[in-house]
Symmetry: C2
Subunit: 99 residues, 2 copies
């Protein structure tokens, strides 16, 4: 199994970000074919950590082929296109390969 | 449920890091009372992301009380003490509150 990990930096307007994220963005994500599960976590940075991250979302897929196919669907593209509406330049993405 | 998220930066000696991590550190982590599950992911950074992270481990606990109690046990302390042996100054920690 693999996962797409989105790490969001603290937004300038948290209320607006969260409204968009939970009311608009996650419903788009949840429609993506092949998505097995997702997990959203609000982050608290522990002492000693230098980071701007405040939220993390993990989106699980069977494998990279399944993920790439998902991203090429209209639902995958709609979700990707929506990111600039709430997190332009404020999100880092990773592919996580689960050991 | 909450999770401790450890984000590891690329080590100078990957082979030595992984040997220590999987043979010494994870066995210590798995002994911690109250740990519900853990997930280790090797990370691949997607284009546009500026980051040094190469591995992430998530350790799940029932709640913050359970996590704090776990960290105060001999097993929790042994695991925390071991971090300097393989990832000194090369790991960031977050507490994730799952939505």
């Amino acid at each position: 199994m693999i996962k797409l990990v989105a790490m969001y930096k603290t937004p300038s307007d948290i209320e607006m970000f969260e409204k968009h994220y939970f009311e608009k963005h996650m419903p788009l994500v949840e429609k993506i074919p092949g998505l097995l599960k997702s997990e959203v976590s609000k982050l608290k940075i522990l002492p000693g950590t230098e980071s701007e991250y405040y939220m993390m979302t993990e989106m699980y897929y069977e494998d990279m082929d399944s993920f790439n196919a998902a991203m090429a669907t209209p639902e995958g593209k709609a979700s990707a296109r929506d990111i600039v509406n709430f997190a332009k330049d404020r999100v880092d993405f990773f592919i996580g390969k689960i050991k």
